[in-house]
Symmetry: C2
DNA sequence: TTGAAAGCGCTAACAT
DNA sequence: ATGTTAGCGCTTTCAA
């Protein structure tokens, strides 16, 4: 490996000059800059990032910790984050926690140890522990799911200023879920059920809460019908089976509000296996749009989230905070952004 | 930030002992190990990964450079890589090159500078430059798309031993594409067209080659009908439009072989816009399965790749090579694995 | 403007 | 078995 000393010798200058020349320090003689550049090219010199990071105590890398790479929502978020990061000179390292708390914890530890410049995370649950990151002074933006109070340095102690510890970008989940359910009711379905994620996932709770709120506000009384499963295709299938196979026909839903897109595919499996027809025997609305939603039969009605925008905003807030932490900008006030969702009516929610 | 010296003081030992204790060095008194552990816990010590990497000249991190996070094929590959990596104590950093050569180059540079333990890459084109990685001795496994000869240290020079420079895990693309096209012909479609990726993408060429081979072997002569576009939904839509809108009806395909799944969604858009019905007016086969494929109407016939397995094998080969490079195992012979594809017949390819 | 040298936090070779 | 110390390759004072 060719190092800075080799370049210095080749260019006939000191290593300090090489460092300054390569980092565009203004105080160095332009002629020397050229000589150094050429020498570096000739030798194929590539600065050792690790050494640089150790010295600078910082990196040009952002970590994006998401719950599931195969969920189109998160890939859209990823795009937004990447585009903003790239414009600002950062690389994005994507960490797929895969809905597993241990995997998430591992990535958070790696992020801390490798001293990334900042972290954007969609926490598995409100209990996800980011206290070390906060303590290490690594800027953090939380997306998609809220985080509970951050633990303080001593056990059992929480930081009263936890809210100020990080920015967040969320979506109006409760409202979107309520809108979806009201839409189902308005379309003439009488017993909408709700298929949501696990108890520890905040988004699962919010979407359920919206569903319940809609039922509560309905003119006639409607019995809540709820099933849970992991936020994946298999989870949706099992949960749908649970609801659809209820012993009492009166307990079987005639419509389904599904809390995320991967689950919806599983719900569709269960529906088919039972010979049910969406739009005829069963109404359906899904929280989250997906590329395939317009192409299935009937086309899926969804609550669309501004996924790309969430990624963009999260990255913008993070970059601003990194800059501020480096003293290269004003300290922005803590942001808690709430973006809105859209009901996209296609065919699955309409009675044929 | 609490560092190793602080722990040493707290535990009343030297920093060397702390280092050894925390790294499970066998030669250290178990009683001291406990003392050190406790001291470290008490202080909330977290080793500085950067400093460690600088000293050790290595990392516990693998980089996985893929062309498109939103393609389900790559997310399945990612899962395979992650599972193997985790079992072997590595973290995976996912780098989304997004089909852009510059972005890919940036990530490769980051991987080199941050000295990741190894890289798995699905190269944008055969021209992707991995010479620096090879020169830096970073083990590399190539997946999905082949890489051309690796450039040598001097311009214009190629390394004759380039084939031995890295392992690869690919899929029988040509054969799969040929099978798909033959299936279309056998199902009674008479003018199958091919929608493939850009000229510089090797998989686009391979899939086209398979298509052409099938036409060449057909009993009656069949005119090739080919359109290209970026490997995305919008690319598929534009390419399909090109074929479907041919001035001469005789030049319009009555079936389509589509080279990847994201493109297929775009093709479906174009098909709908023209009021065509898949399975009736138009046969369709897609290279690559996708979670939504069984759920669209009619269900999509696909060439399924063992995506998860590709990721697993790539990671296994990489880990073995990293071990070997560290002297912790035998040097494996260069592997060039070729996995097989499966034709999954659903409804889209059958004449109703 | 340039160079010499200190040190980022850690591991490992060497000394005890 | 434990401690002392020399670096890993770089950036950045400090001195010239």
């Amino acid at each position: 490996m060719v190092k800075i000393g080799d370049v210095a010798r080749e260019a006939g200058v000191s290593i300090a000059t090489v460092s300054r020349a390569l980092n565009n320090h203004p105080t160095v003689n332009p002629e020397l800059v050229d000589r150094v550049r050429e020498a570096a090219d000739r030798l194929g010199y590539r600065p050792n990032g690790i050494a640089r990071n150790l010295r600078r105590q910082s990196t040009d890398v952002l970590a994006l910790v998401i719950s599931d790479v195969s969920n189109p929502f998160f890939t859209a978020v990823t795009r937004g984050v990447e585009d903003v990061a790239q414009r600002n000179g950062y690389s994005v390292l994507l960490c797929n926690a895969d809905e597993q708390p241990e995997k998430e914890a591992t990535y958070l530890r790696v992020a801390e140890q490798e001293q990334v410049a900042g972290v954007i995370i969609s926490p598995h649950s409100a209990g996800t522990d980011v206290s070390r990151l906060v303590a290490a002074g690594i800027p953090l933006t939380v997306i998609d799911r809220p985080l509970g109070p951050v633990a303080g340095p001593r056990e059992g102690e929480t930081r009263p200023d936890a809210r100020g510890a990080f920015d967040s970008v969320m979506v109006e989940s409760v409202g979107g879920a309520r809108l979806a359910t009201e839409h189902l009711l308005a379309a003439g379905w009488v017993r909408p059920g709700c298929i949501t994620g696990p108890l520890d996932a905040a988004t699962a709770e919010q979407r359920l809460a919206g569903y319940l709120a809609a039922l509560g506000a309905a003119p006639r009384e409607v019995q809540p019908l709820v099933a849970r499963g992991p936020f994946r295709q298999a989870g949706g299938r099992a949960a749908a089976a649970e609801l659809l196979d209820a012993a009492e026909p009166a307990d079987r839903p005639d419509a389904l509000f599904v809390a995320n897109a991967p689950m919806a595919l599983g719900v569709l499996e269960a529906v088919r296996e039972r010979g049910l027809r969406v739009g005829i025997d069963l109404g359906m609305v899904v929280f989250d749009d997906a590329p395939w939603a317009p192409f299935i039969e009937p086309a899926m009605t969804v609550i669309a989230q501004p996924a790309y925008r969430i990624g963009e905003r999260a990255a913008e807030l993070l970059v601003a905070r990194i800059r501020a932490a480096a003293g290269a900008g004003p300290v922005p006030p803590t942001a808690q952004e709430l973006l809105t969702t859209d009901l996209v009516v296609r065919a699955s929610s309409l009675r044929a």
